[in-house]
């Protein structure tokens, strides 16, 4: 027995099967292509949306102000403790002096003489603050509640509506895309199964003969499995090429037509998306072909 010879013979039979059932191959490859195109498109959109949400999340923070009698070192201690909370990604401290300098830059830039009247008396003396950035925006509510009960903190400023909306949008987009991708995968597997069943029906006589001469399960079934995998891979390559050009065009379009948005929210570079999309799509294509052909041969070929 030559296993290698058998493997290449069965692989060759897989290609021959495709050639013999050209129409069915085109139909199922096109269906898989359409499904993987949709999956790829969703992935690119969702991946970018998640990236944008993450960027937006990172710019949202909770600001805390301290009781008037607290010294600088006490404030720094509280800030240091908060920085160690598991929900917190980082904290940024603004002292009263820095707050006044910032205020002056923003509001008295054109009339610095107006600010000179406060030279020895910082009007924001009690405005030392910490900006607290969270790892996950959905934890903001619980973090704020904890901050409000923390000793020494006078005031907690947060943007709860934005945080909730971002968190909800992220969750909804995730759920919708999982459901849709699941449905598309199921449809693809169903269609490739039917294509392979048609191939089995067309080659019924050949299968019977193989059975009578003592061919093994592997020998009888593997050409159909190869046929499924090849169909799936070709069905994956086509949408990858199409998506590549669409994504490149969309990136340029966003940069030129929506420069206002892209200034604050950035689109992911081509390779960031395609380094995941290429292996993912090929794996999904081959997987659809493999699962579909295993179902078909398992049901319709009894050696």
């Amino acid at each position: 027995m030559k296993t290698g010879t058998s493997f290449f013979y069965c692989l060759g039979q897989g290609f021959k099967g495709i050639k013999r059932n050209r129409l069915f191959f085109v139909a199922s490859a096109a269906t898989i292509a359409a499904c993987i195109f949709m999956i790829g498109l969703f992935f690119a959109v969702v991946y970018n949306l998640n990236h944008m949400l993450k960027e937006a999340e990172q710019s949202i923070c909770v600001t805390i102000f301290f009781d008037e009698e607290l010294s600088e070192s006490e404030i720094q201690k509280i800030g240091g403790d908060i920085a160690n909370w598991s929900e917190v990604s980082r904290v940024e401290y603004t002292s009263a002096t820095e707050a006044w300098e910032k205020f002056k830059e923003e509001y008295f830039a054109n009339n610095p003489e107006l600010a000179d009247g406060f030279a020895d008396d910082n009007p924001l003396a009690n405005s030392a603050s910490y900006d607290i950035f969270l790892k996950d925006i959905s934890t903001q509510r619980s973090v704020v509640a904890r901050l409000e009960t923390t000793e020494g903190i006078r005031q907690v400023n947060r943007s709860e509506i934005t945080a909730d909306v971002l968190s909800d949008v992220g969750r909804i987009v995730g759920i919708v895309s999982i459901v849709l991708i699941g449905v598309l995968l199921a449809v693809s597997i169903f269609l490739i199964t039917n294509t392979i069943i048609t191939g089995i029906t067309v080659r019924k006589e050949e299968i019977k003969i193989m059975k009578y001469v003592g061919a093994t399960d592997f020998f009888v079934k593997s050409p159909f499995v190869f046929e499924g995998i090849i169909t799936g891979l070709i069905g994956a390559i086509i949408p990858l090429v199409v998506l590549f050009f669409i994504y490149r065009w969309a990136m340029n379009f966003m940069v030129t037509e929506f420069s206002m948005i892209t200034g604050t929210l950035s689109v992911l570079p081509l390779w960031d998306v395609f380094s995941i999309l290429i292996p993912g799509a090929l794996l999904i294509g081959a997987g659809i072909g493999f699962i579909g052909s295993i179902i078909a041969t398992g049901k319709h070929i009894k050696v």
Partner: protein, 227 residues
């Protein structure tokens, strides 16, 4: 070589027994006809021997091996000991004579160099070497059956089972096929021919097992006189 020990076969949805307590022994190198009318149980024996069906009762032995003990993954190995020929030839229409025969070798992963040698030998034995490039539809019925015989033999089985091999042939071609089967038998292969063609059976003067309604009604030895 083949032994049926009190074999009964009843199909799932029927109380009628296709075979009823059949005991039968065929020795190595024998040439045997199994005859009977339609529905007598001939095809059931054929399917039981290739393990397409399991007996309801009793045991079947091929070369001393009880088939009930043969696991699913060992069935291909069992079938390699048995060559089969059908009434309707069952050739692959899209492949030429050579590829039809070579197909049986490829199915059991014989190396390509060996396939060429074995197929050439079978083409010569079956008298179709000049037509190795022809497609089945370009051949006569007799020639197609020769190709089917060559395909059944190329894997060198110990047993050749032929199910109505002359059913689709005229008298002259039927005779030629039976001569071919006799030559194959002389080379040492056990040949079992299932048929209802009494004329062929009479002319061959071989052992004849007569089945009626699933029961062996008589077993006439080689050279014996048919009723």
């Amino acid at each position: 070589m083949i032994k049926l020990d009190h074999v009964t076969k009843a199909y799932n949805n029927s109380h009628v027994k296709a075979l009823d307590d059949v005991c039968l022994e065929i020795n190595e190198g024998e040439f045997v006809f199994i005859v009977g009318d339609s529905g007598a149980g001939k095809s059931t024996i054929f399917k039981l021997l290739t393990k397409e069906l399991e007996p309801s009762e009793g045991e079947i032995y091929i070369a001393g091996q009880p088939l009930s003990k043969v696991r699913h993954r060992r069935v291909p190995a069992l079938r390699r000991q048995i060559g089969v020929v059908f009434q309707d030839f069952r050739l692959l229409e899209d492949r030429n004579v050579y590829d039809n025969i070579a197909f049986a070798q490829r199915a059991i992963s014989v190396p390509a160099s060996q396939i060429k040698k074995n197929v050439t030998e079978m083409l010569t034995l079956c008298g179709i070497s000049e037509k190795y490039r022809f497609l089945p539809k370009q051949l006569s019925g007799g020639e197609q059956q020769r190709v089917a015989v060559a395909r059944a033999l190329v894997n060198q089985p110990k047993i050749l089972l032929a199910d109505e091999p002359t059913g689709n042939l005229d008298a002259e071609n039927a005779r030629a096929i039976m001569d071919l089967l006799e030559r194959i038998n002389e080379r040492g292969t056990t040949v079992v021919v299932v048929t209802h063609n009494q004329e062929v059976v009479r002319s061959m003067k071989k052992r004849v097992i007569n089945i009626k309604k699933g029961v062996i009604v008589n077993d006439i030895p080689e050279g014996g006189r048919l009723a």
